[in-house]
């Protein structure tokens, strides 16, 4: 297990930070150079540059890591909750809530429950609710229920039965404003009352 985890970590790191691929190879080359130099020929020092091929095996896991978004294929039916901190592609049936970052719901997919995400792209059917900053309803989308959003795109042909609520995330600001206003209103009569009592 330990060995496996060690192997996994360098593969995941470049996947998480594709902008800095130069950083991981650097620590990888010195140990590789040492191992290569030690058993083969300690005398020949110019050889260490050869570890250059090492980055290529690390790049293949990187590409795998990049495409590591979850896929729920059409043959899959889930009864329960699905939660992810990465992108999800749904083509199957889900009875329950879905939480993801980017959620794509394919044409033949069906979700009964709430779909949460930063970005939701719907081409299939949802019976429930969408709560997402950015919502895209495709031409084949069939949405039954409310849509909470900040940004929305609706293609012609999309079916929506429910309310469109653009105030996603603005509830908090409202909630903040209200309590501030109320105490302020309460304080002044109290202080005046106290002042009156004292007087």
């Amino acid at each position: 297990m330990n060995l496996f985890n060690r192997n996994d970590k360098p593969a995941e790191k470049p996947a998480d930070k594709p902008d800095t691929p130069s950083a991981p190879p650097k620590p990888a080359t010195p140990p590789a150079a040492q191992t290569a130099a030690a058993p083969k020929a300690p005398d020949i020092k110019p050889e260490p540059p050869k570890p250059a091929p090492l980055p290529t095996p690390t790049t293949t896991p990187t590409t795998k890591g990049a495409s590591m978004a979850s896929v729920i294929s059409k043959a899959l039916k889930i009864t329960g909750e699905l939660e992810s901190t990465e992108d999800i592609q749904i083509d199957g049936h889900i009875d329950g809530d879905v939480r993801g970052v980017g959620v794509k719901i394919g044409q033949n997919a069906k979700v009964k429950g709430t779909v949460y995400g930063d970005e939701v792209e719907l081409a299939g059917t949802i019976e429930g609710k969408i709560e997402s900053k950015k919502v895209t309803l495709g031409g084949t989308a069939r949405m039954t229920g409310d849509v909470w959003f900040q940004e929305i795109k609706i293609d012609s042909g999309a079916y929506i039965s429910g309310n469109l609520k653009p105030e996603l995330g603005k509830q908090d600001s409202k909630a903040e404003i209200k309590p501030v206003a109320k105490p302020a209103a309460n304080v002044s009569p109290l202080s005046t009352a106290n002042g009156a009592a004292h007087a």
Partner: protein
């Protein structure tokens, strides 16, 4: 098995978790976490994957962490696997280095054909 060929495999990424019942007429590859019941044709628990509950399939490959019961005619346990629980099988492969805690009872292939209801017993 035909459905298996038609449908693309489902994949649960390492940062994905499901709690509930999963039914697939195909293959499911798990790198994330699943808590509940899985019924599939083929299930692969990849390294880093974690399953807690019951797995029923024609074929199960475990390279991650399995905690619960497995019902499959063909079971493969890779060296990186950690298994807690029972593995009902009629053919099993366990790689050297695998961490298997529990029993691996043998059952005839006919046992799996009639496996509609899960035995109530708990590991």
């Amino acid at each position: 098995m035909n459905a298996h060929a038609d449908a693309p495999p489902s994949f649960l990424g390492p940062r994905t978790g499901i709690a509930g019942i999963l039914e697939i007429e195909g293959e499911l590859v798990i790198s994330g976490r699943v808590k509940g019941q899985i019924a599939a044709i083929r299930v692969v628990i990849a390294p880093g994957g974690y399953v807690e509950g019951d797995v029923i399939a024609f074929e199960v490959v475990i390279a991650g962490h399995m905690n619960g019961r497995v019902f499959a005619p063909t079971v493969t346990i890779e060296a990186s696997a950690q298994v807690d629980g029972r593995i009902f099988h009629s053919s099993i492969t366990i790689a050297r280095g695998a961490n298997v805690r529990g029993r691996t009872p043998w059952r005839p292939p006919s046992y799996f054909e009639t496996l509609d209801k899960l035995p109530e017993e708990r590991p």
